[in-house]
Subunit: 562 residues, 2 copies
């Protein structure tokens, strides 16, 4: 058995190592076009930011280790330049010697990854414009940032010396994971950062109202946020610095530009092999990571996989699934019946002191698919018991099926305990749990770590109240025509009030029911929707038509522009 | 409908508030013997330690709030002194006025909690010996610590003034949750602390080898640990300070003693009502929290519940289950079909910079029940990607069924990411997942938060390797008679080696197979069991009989006494 694995990072390296463990006799060749295998590309932004100081820290495993420990014929700077599926052979080009050789295979595994999108814009190849994909990319950016550039330099008229200044102004193009991580790390290095994003929100997988909170953290840290505006081109100024030109006609001066518009599956080899490419542009594979050619497998960022919740084909350029897919391909090649279960899109991104995380479907994906059988809730619990110091408010959005309560997705944002909650949701989602299961979940509690009712329980309780019919749900975007009832206390209204809302503090509600209309639906709210939940129960049981506005004033700050 | 709820803290308060939300018309009386309702008893140790500065922070809800917001007749300093189940009536004693009144009920809910065990030892009532259950308890301890005590005082021979010194030496009796939290908080306040524990380990729900790590944190922070020794009595010295006398005949001087031996369900009322008490000493209830009297419910620390994994009756004095039980009792009283699913015993405890957490069954519980169909593994992954600063090693023990891979329990200890992992395990356990599900779990990953293969995935992979027969498992306590093979590198052996073990560094293994015996089972190990896993696969495929010692040298440090 001879297996050639193309690509030596997450998916390819996992596949190679796993295959060796399963089959001591197999001949395994792993080729990697770049100089490094198995490096931590997720760490690149943090290396640029200096958080990860040593480049060597990023090199999780080396070519030498693959050879010595796994007896794998690992070849870096080696590229597959031709495939003949009929002959089951590839042409390998050694980029050091220039030599091209042919190798036969029994099974071929494609793990070429996805390449940063570099649109053919005017000026795209100017010096100072970088993508962030490889260790050399990060090295080039660091050198550019450290060396100082002529841009912004001037002759000191007193001394006559030319002062070379370090880059001060960065423009990051694209507000996805890499873009946001680069923004944070460039701010961390002291640069003035402008983020240009074509869409009306950062972090496209998120629902826009959740992205608003992310955007606030950006602004808080001095980032200039330019949404709804794409990049039209780049120019070099007379002083050598760059200008980023936008579709809206703006010009953003920059000493460095980071392109983080997204990635595109590397499918050149797949096309060469004549295997099917999906509609999303990724290599089409079955659950066993087999392409339409039974002797060719594909894994990682280059493939389309099924979304676990929606069943749709999707591209998920994330390291976790790539690793699992690599293992699965190895299993199948070794004769086992492993299957990829699809992806939940579980992800997390650090945003300065906060983190934003997600698992499962977003509202906008469900809406795109025409799905009607779902509901959404917002909640804002503390990350741990409020009476213990350091508790931070979490913003949580949960999507669930109305018909059976099945959890569909969750988005969590905050400065503490975010990863913990998204992992609970992710595990629950994987096990096809309902919001009733979340209600009953027994999660850990001690004051520094959680609450007797964990935010995950709380989400289940809020959702279950809705599905059991105990609490008709309202949202700020559908309050029109209703009677707005604010059950907060007067000092809270003094800080911020809602125009046209009638105020009865909760403790007075039972005594003042006569002041409320019986011919109109009452939309009740408070700060977070807890007291308004109590009010909703009181009003319902007294015969009023009522809805509790999910997330109260805290949700309003997300959906109502200020 | 008139409902009387006895006890106004976790279970009782949850029940009362929930019942009001479900039934606006019900007459609800909640009586609490102490001065406060709904206080954060889990926060008491941290209030003693000064981490939670204000006593008021602990008062989550007040009597006034229950009256105003929930229209609940909330009565503090009011105790049930008699029950007549036939008349469906209770006698209430007002501890302020001394008045005793009779109230009829339709449904009665008992939520009396559990009382700290105070064995009738000589000297148990001496001043300076405290339990930690109520807000006044914490206040008394703080006063004792702040006021200064005569103990240790002396006349300054130069000034002639008597110097009253603050307590310096504390003895904590009992190494469970409260005991450990009190130890930490007393150390935090600068006291010299001795912990006396009758068992051979702290934290009795843990398996002893995991408790060893907890004990090391204690010792690291200067705590004197006295295991295997119970308290025999207390004496007052001539200078007014205390001495704790132990069964082994030791005397530990103390300026303050904290009793944290455990709690005992408060069943006096239940006995008065003639309802069944279980063999563990708690009130017997069904899944709907109904006692053997259909009009009397019981919730919280006073009841026995089913263990979710073992099906055994158990006592779980934890806030999360108490809250859920309170809700369930309210639901059932309001005519709904809610059911308690049993407890997983999910818990967490901060141990200085570390945390120890647990969910599901321990090995010792399974052993006690005579269970044979289970296996255990140890692993020591990083809390997040090792290349990102701040990663800490986690110690994880996972128990699972051999026959079908069902997850049975997990214990996690470390300085970062513990709560996150135990909650993933807890959610998985609740959903009856297998270790194969853990393998495929899609948890969040970005360098500051996790790894592409999360520790939870890693646990699943290690366990699945065993059940699939890929890796025969070994443990240090069963290596006798085997051939010990150490596949670490020589510099690692120089730091610590295992007597009698033969060393072949992993990269040399394939070339040196001839040096290994074919007539004896080889027990292979490395630092963490990863390289020895690779070695195991190589040896197995070359026809050797081999076992991979779970957790390698890191496990050895737990089970082999130093």
């Amino acid at each position: 058995m001879k297996v050639i694995i193309v690509g030596g990072v997450a998916g390819g390296a996992s596949c190679a190592a796993r295959l060796r463990r399963l089959d001591e006799k197999a001949e395994i060749i792993m080729v990697e076009r770049g100089p490094y295998v198995s490096y931590a590309n997720c760490g690149l932004p943090y290396h640029v930011g200096g958080v990860i100081e040593q480049e060597a820290s990023l090199l999780v495993a080396t070519e030498q280790m693959f050879r010595a420990q796994f007896a794998i014929d690992c070849r870096t700077r080696c590229e597959v330049v031709g495939i003949s599926p009929k002959q089951k052979a590839v042409e390998l080009k050694n980029h050091v010697s220039g030599e091209v050789t042919t190798e036969k295979y029994d099974k071929l595994v494609l793990s070429p990854g996805a390449a940063p999108i570099r649109p053919p814009l005017p000026g795209i190849d100017l010096p100072g414009i970088f993508s962030v994909r490889t260790v050399p990319d990060a090295r080039n950016i660091r050198e550019w940032l450290e060396r100082g550039v002529a841009a912004g330099s001037c002759i000191n008229t007193y001394t006559g010396f030319q002062t070379v200044t370090k880059p001060k102004r960065a423009v990051v193009v694209g507000g996805g994971f890499i873009g946001l991580e680069m923004v944070e790390n460039l701010v961390h290095r002291g640069l003035e950062v402008t983020l240009v994003e074509k869409l009306n929100q950062v972090m496209p997988p998120l629902d826009p109202e959740m992205a608003r909170i992310v955007e606030r953290y950006m602004v808080k840290h001095g980032v200039r946020l330019e949404l709804n505006d794409g990049v039209a081109g780049f120019q070099q100024s007379t002083d050598g610095s760059l200008e980023v030109l936008t579709s809206a006609g703006k010009r953003h001066p920059a000493d460095i530009v980071i392109l983080a518009i997204g990635v595109r599956p590397e499918t050149a080899l797949a096309k060469m092999a004549g295997i099917e490419i999906g509609q999303r542009g990724g290599i089409r594979v079955d659950e066993q990571m087999r392409t339409t050619n039974p002797d060719i497998f594909a894994v990682g960022d280059a493939v389309e996989v099924r979304d676990f919740v929606t069943g749709q084909w999707t591209l998920i350029p994330l390291a976790g699934p790539a690793n699992r897919q690599g293992r699965i391909a190895a299993d199948v090649i070794a004769g086992r019946d492993s299957r990829f279960r699809g992806t939940q899109g579980t992800s997390i991104c650090q945003i300065f002191e906060a983190a934003i995380a997600q698992t499962g479907a977003s509202e906008k994906i469900l809406a795109q698919l025409g799905e009607k059988d779902f509901e959404k809730i917002y909640l804002y619990p503390n990350s741990h018991a409020g009476y213990y110091p350091g508790a931070k408010m979490l913003a949580i959005k949960v999507l669930f099926r109305k018909s059976d309560g099945r959890l569909l997705g969750a988005q969590v944002l905050g400065e503490d305990g975010v990863a913990k909650r998204i992992d609970s949701f992710a595990m629950a989602l994987q096990m096809r749990c309902t919001i009733y299961d979340l209600e009953e979940a027994e999660l850990c509690y001690a004051p520094p770590f959680g609450s007797a009712k964990d935010p995950v329980n709380f989400a289940g309780m809020v959702a279950a109240n809705i599905l059991r019919g105990d609490v008709p749900l309202g949202h700020w975007d559908s309050v029109d025509g209703g009677f707005l009832l604010d059950v907060r206390n007067p000092p809270e209204l003094a800080v911020e009030s809602v125009p046209g809302a009638f105020n009865i503090p909760l403790p007075q509600l039972r005594a003042r029911l006569g002041e409320l209309p019986r011919d109109r639906e009452i939309h009740v709210f408070c700060r977070s929707a807890q007291r308004s939940y109590y009010a909703t129960r009181i009003l319902l049981q007294n015969g009023f038509e009522v809805r509790n506005i999910s997330g109260g004033m805290l949700s309003r700050s997300m959906v109502v522009a200020k």
